[in-house]
């Protein structure tokens, strides 16, 4: 990839984009345990939004609530209505979530099939995203014939092919080895650059959050609260490897660790 472009133009104050996801005073309790305590948040359209926090801080729960898999205890969570014919969101899960009994192609087509999209639309979207994730050659294989990295690519292709307005990603790369993770981060950025959907990306890796996101919310240890939201003013398109050599990158990572280390420490007790 070409070297990172240095932004020459002065920072222009962009008009605020419409809010895509609005969270107000979200509280989630499991019996007596409070997982999330009063989180309020606006995520603007087209933002790549990462959430980091110590394990058990409720970040996955927050995403599951956004994805309709868990209910709020109190508060409001709202994703703006999508354009007609498009789903609000698609989710990429942590770990193996593609169906072992479907081929790569059938897996990628799943969301569209559930929406009863016309065959031509399904074929076109699936072909496009299998191509972008480098899976075209493997489209007729079953998941057990693929490596872990490839399976996670299928999961990403499935989410993108569904053409949602919001992508919810729950530590999608956490089960991968570091090399695969780096490769998939770059691929995700490349795919995302095309139409810049709103993304909510959960991770426990500060590096990953800084590499990918425009904004990062740091959550406190249990119960999870929004500790701070940090802007990542690194220009795009980004090169995952070059970034690591960028002093600003190190500074942002260091800054986030400053917020996080007390929480990690607290989570241990």
């Amino acid at each position: 990839m070409e070297s990172r472009r240095v932004s020459a133009e002065p920072a222009i104050a962009l008009p605020r984009r419409p809010v895509k996801i609005r969270i107000r005073h979200l509280v989630k309790r499991f019996r007596s345990l409070t997982a999330i305590e009063d989180v309020s948040l606006d995520i603007e359209e087209g933002t790549f939004f990462a959430i980091v926090g110590p394990s058990g801080c409720g970040k996955t729960t927050l995403l599951r609530i956004l994805g309709g898999l868990d209910e709020v205890t109190s508060g409001e969570v709202e994703i703006a209505d999508p354009a007609p014919g498009r789903p609000k969101y698609s989710m990429v899960f942590q770990g193996d979530s593609i169906f072992p009994w479907m081929t790569v192609r059938e897996n990628a087509a799943y969301g569209l099939k559930m929406r009863k999209a016309p065959t031509a639309v399904i074929d076109r979207a699936v072909a496009r995203y299998l191509d972008r994730t480098g899976l075209t050659r493997f489209s007729h294989l079953y998941p057990h014939q693929l490596s872990g990295g490839m399976r996670q690519r299928v999961s990403i292709a499935r989410a993108f092919a569904n053409d949602p307005e919001v992508l919810l990603m729950d530590e999608p790369f956490s089960a991968l080895d570091e090399q695969n993770r780096t490769i998939l981060q770059q691929e995700l950025l490349r795919i995302w650059e095309v139409d810049k959907k709103t993304v909510v990306f959960i991770t426990h890796s500060v590096d990953e959050a800084v590499t990918l996101a425009d904004k990062i919310m740091v959550m406190t240890a249990s119960p999870g609260r929004a500790k701070t939201v940090i802007d990542v003013s690194l220009e795009r398109p980004r090169n995952v490897l070059e970034l690591r050599n960028d002093p600003r990158y190190g500074k942002i990572v260091y800054g986030i660790w400053g917020h996080l280390k007390d929480e990690v420490e607290r989570a241990r007790h």
Binding site: G67, M91, F93, F99, W101, M102, Y110, M114, N162
Partner: protein, 276 residues
């Protein structure tokens, strides 16, 4: 790690070849023994019958049984009875198996249905199915239906129970994926629960096939004028011992062929499994 893997690492190439060859030779020897053992028994039986060491009224020589088999096949009665029995098994499988898969998966997916149906299955499961024959004859009469129902009841239980177990062992994440992609109830059933439970359902089908064969034989002995079971029973009534043996042989072959077919079906329907 197997012994041969250790040999791979620890010793020079020729030693590995020798080990490999010894293993192949042992495998070949085992296969020969497996084929030879039943043949040997038949041979001993034949010789003992020829030499009148055993009572041929009870244990007619295998060669004479084969002779009877050929006569019966030529007369057409054998093929006809086999066809009738197979038809009853097939129809019984459909009558019992299709609802078993539907109900079993529904029980696995939806708690209230499990709460509703589980006690009924638990309460009736221990009843020996063959003991229901008089009741079935009473309700369905002596026609085809009573035999088909007998088989259906037999296959229902193992298939329903295995279908439920199959759904319950499906990783929750797949159901979450379905929910998150807005799969309808029917789509959840069709695209997640059914394929996910299929390996277990196939086990149920195999168990059901074994039961079906037992039950159809019993049902035909008691309440039929056709089929392999009837053939065996009427052979006893007329003391046609060779015919009886032919019947037993044919039942064994049917069972064997069914299990071969089911293994093949299993291989095809769960080809997505890593170890299939």
């Amino acid at each position: 790690m197997s012994a041969s893997d250790i040999a791979d690492i620890g010793t020079a190439a020729p030693a590995v070849d020798v080990g490999e060859e010894a293993r192949l030779r042992a495998k070949r020897r085992d296969r020969i023994i497996s084929v030879a053992s039943p043949l040997g028994l038949l041979l001993a039986w034949e010789l003992a019958a020829q030499a009148s060491l055993i009572d041929v009224r009870f244990f007619p020589a295998p060669s004479s049984i084969i002779g009877t088999l050929i006569d019966m096949a030529k007369a057409g009665e054998l093929v006809e009875n086999v066809a009738i029995t197979l038809r009853r098994i097939a129809l019984g499988f459909m009558l019992g198996g299709v609802p078993a898969i539907g109900i079993g998966i529904a029980m696995g997916l939806w708690r209230p249905i499990r709460a509703l149906v589980d006690p009924l299955i638990a309460a009736t499961y221990p009843i020996p199915k063959s003991s229901l024959m008089p009741l079935i004859l009473l309700i369905c009469g002596l026609g085809e239906m009573s035999k088909i129902v007998m088989v259906a009841i037999g296959v229902f239980y193992p298939m329903a129970i295995n279908a439920t177990a199959g759904v319950l062992q499906i990783n929750q994440i797949y159901l979450d994926v379905g929910k998150s992609y807005r799969a309808s109830r029917w789509d959840t059933f069709r695209t997640i629960a059914l394929p996910g439970a299929l390996p277990f359902i196939m086990t149920g089908v195999k168990l059901g096939a074994g039961l079906a064969l037992i039950l159809i034989a019993v049902a035909e002995m008691v309440g039929a004028k056709s089929g392999i079971g009837y053939m065996i029973w009427s052979a006893w009534e007329t003391f046609a011992v060779k015919k009886m043996y032919v019947g037993l042989l044919v039942v064994a072959v049917i069972g064997f062929v069914i299990s071969l077919v089911l293994n093949e079906v299993e291989r095809v329907v769960i080809r997505w499994k890593a170890d299939a």
